[in-house]
């Protein structure tokens, strides 16, 4: 069940060196012959390794006895939870899940005492098993176990208690536990994505704010489309979404409160305002505003007030994104004559350019891990790339007609962006790619989509 990725190949080297005290002296050789061994210079043996996906068996979760819940019976949920876990792992790009369909049922006793021998003929590395049960209050308890089939060892176990209606979150949390243990990365499945849903003809496009779970489930539209909504971003605590909106000649930066469904204006102007971004502490928003051909980046308290201008160079300065520690901001500016990326301190001081490659650079987005900055590279076509905050180590991850506006998964491993296809009927759709450049795939949305914004892992 291994899928082979075609465009990245890893080579692994195994270098053997005999330990000094285990060595014996080399036998004297006739002149011209190679010695039988050379301890210090043992040759590096390089083997080509394909970036195969790790095969993982995911069985339907067991239940002590099937009971009805607000989300269906626990036996049905046991299968549905395993299906969500398998789909999450598949989408992450590193794994080839097997099951739960087509696998034999696993009883409660076997969940914690897996029958490794019965799975070994499937050539899988790992086994995910678990259980689901309900209590009198209607809560679900989901137990999640990860095993190493070949070594016959337990790698992780976790338990999650959720309300029955949140069963998908328990499945995402289990998938996150499996993914983190096997990849080393921080979790990301239990998170949400905000984006702009686009409908209607190009000359009268309706742009609505929408949100969905990281796997596309629980989709809903937030705004009704009477005003154009763009560039959404989740607050660090997930309670709010900041976005820009245009209605007539008025331009506004809104903060939408998810729990109450209400929104308020943080700033409004007859000048275009766009690209609001949260500070990591959730207290401030950056946004860009254009005035008579000069666009600058401003910082404003989330509660509103007087914006403070952070850039004042002639030309267009836009799209600030904070470093995760909040001390620096990366932004784009055309002050040199073409769009390039710059970094400044959070107070606007010490502005310096970090990109010097050919073409233009736009929409920088600092990784939540802090180690990389994602951007749109414009040179002929629009491509998504990453580089270090110093501007080095640039790698382009996509190559299509128009890919733009990267947003990071909360663990900094996957980047989403939107791709526009060429032509009058060209569509805009959300795609994602692993930061190593593999596993490019479309993220399904009910209508055309742009400006994805991946939120943090749910609290």
């Amino acid at each position: 069940m291994k899928k082979r990725l075609s465009f990245l190949v890893l080579s692994a080297a195994v270098i053997l060196t005999p330990l000094a005290h285990a060595q014996t002296a080399p036998t004297a050789q006739p002149s011209g012959d190679a010695p039988t061994w050379a301890p210090a210079e043992s040759p590096e043996v390089v083997a080509t390794v394909r970036n195969d996906r790790t095969s993982i068996i995911v069985t339907s979760f067991a239940t002590p006895q099937s009971q009805d819940t607000a989300a269906g019976s626990t036996s049905a949920l046991g299968t549905q939870i395993a299906q969500v876990i398998a789909a999450d792992l598949e989408r992450a790009g590193l794994y080839a899940p097997v099951g739960p369909g087509g696998l034999r049922p696993v009883g409660m006793a076997e969940v914690t005492a897996p029958q490794f021998d019965s799975w070994r003929n499937r050539n899988a590395e790992n086994l995910v098993q678990g259980f689901v049960r309900t209590d009198a209050a209607g809560n679900l308890t989901v137990g999640c176990y990860l095993y190493d089939i070949e070594l016959g060892t337990e790698l992780a176990r976790n338990g999650f208690v959720v309300q029955a209606r949140d069963w998908r979150r328990a499945a995402h949390r289990c998938a996150d536990a499996v993914y983190s243990r096997l990849s080393g990365e921080a979790p990301f499945f239990d998170s949400r994505i905000a984006y702009i849903a686009e409908t209607g003809p190009k000359n009268a496009r309706v742009k609505r704010l929408a949100i969905m779970d990281s796997d596309g489930a629980n989709h809903r539209f937030i705004t009704n489309g009477q005003a154009i909504a763009i560039t959404p971003r989740y607050s660090p605590d997930y309670r709010q979404i900041a976005y820009s909106s245009w209605a007539g000649s008025r331009s506004r930066v809104y903060v939408y409160d998810i729990a109450s469904g209400s929104q308020r204006v943080v700033y409004e102007s007859n000048n275009p305002t766009f690209a609001p971004r949260w500070s990591p502490d959730g207290r401030f928003l950056l946004f860009s505003m254009g005035q008579t051909g000069n666009t600058d980046i401003y910082r404003i308290p989330v509660a509103g007030g007087t914006p403070r201008r952070l850039t004042d160079a002639p030309g267009i300065d836009v799209g600030g994104s904070f470093s995760p520690d909040g001390t620096k901001i990366v932004f784009e500016s055309d002050r040199s004559g073409s769009q390039q990326l710059y970094i400044m301190n959070a107070d606007g001081s010490d502005q310096r350019r970090i990109t010097f490659g050919g073409g233009r650079y736009a929409t920088p987005e600092w990784s939540p891990r802090g180690d990389l900055i994602a951007f749109t590279r414009i040179q002929g076509n629009f491509r998504i790339g990453v580089m270090s905050p110093s501007g080095g180590g640039e790698r382009l991850l996509t190559n299509s007609w128009q890919d733009e506006a990267p947003t990071w998964a909360p663990n900094g491993r996957i980047i989403q962006f939107f791709r526009t296809s060429q032509g009058r009927n060209g569509r805009s759709q959300i795609f994602q790619v692993d930061v190593t450049g593999v596993n490019l795939r479309r993220v399904p949305t009910p209508v055309d989509a742009s400006d994805p914004a991946w939120g943090p892992v749910l609290p």
Partner: protein, 102 residues
């Protein structure tokens, strides 16, 4: 000794190829393990020798995993088919594990 090395390499390599973690800068990492064998070719113990080399901010998530997977490769490859009569020559061996992006 050359033949012991080749034999051990041949047994570990397919496991290491499957086990090497993926991620940015993983190709910079390098770890040396010391393996103590039993006479029957099973593994008595595996320990890391020295520091994991090539650490960067980007491969931080894979650093511990890299060592764990190298050890897993050694254990998966057991028992090793090695000549018992030369046990004293292969009882303790060191191996360095690295990955390279092709």
């Amino acid at each position: 000794m050359q033949s012991f090395r080749a034999a051990i390499d041949g047994e570990i390599r397919p496991h290491w190829e499957r086990n090497v973690p993926s991620g940015v800068d993983v190709e910079r990492l390098r770890v040396t393990l010391e393996i103590t064998f039993n006479r029957d070719g099973s593994v008595a113990s595996v320990r890391q020798v020295g520091e994991l080399a090539g650490k960067t901010e980007s491969n931080q998530p894979q650093q511990a995993l890299f060592v764990e997977r190298a050890i897993r490769s050694v254990r998966q490859a057991a028992p090793y088919r090695l000549p018992a009569e030369h046990f004293d020559q292969w009882r303790v061996m060191r191996q360095t594990f690295s990955a390279r992006r092709g």
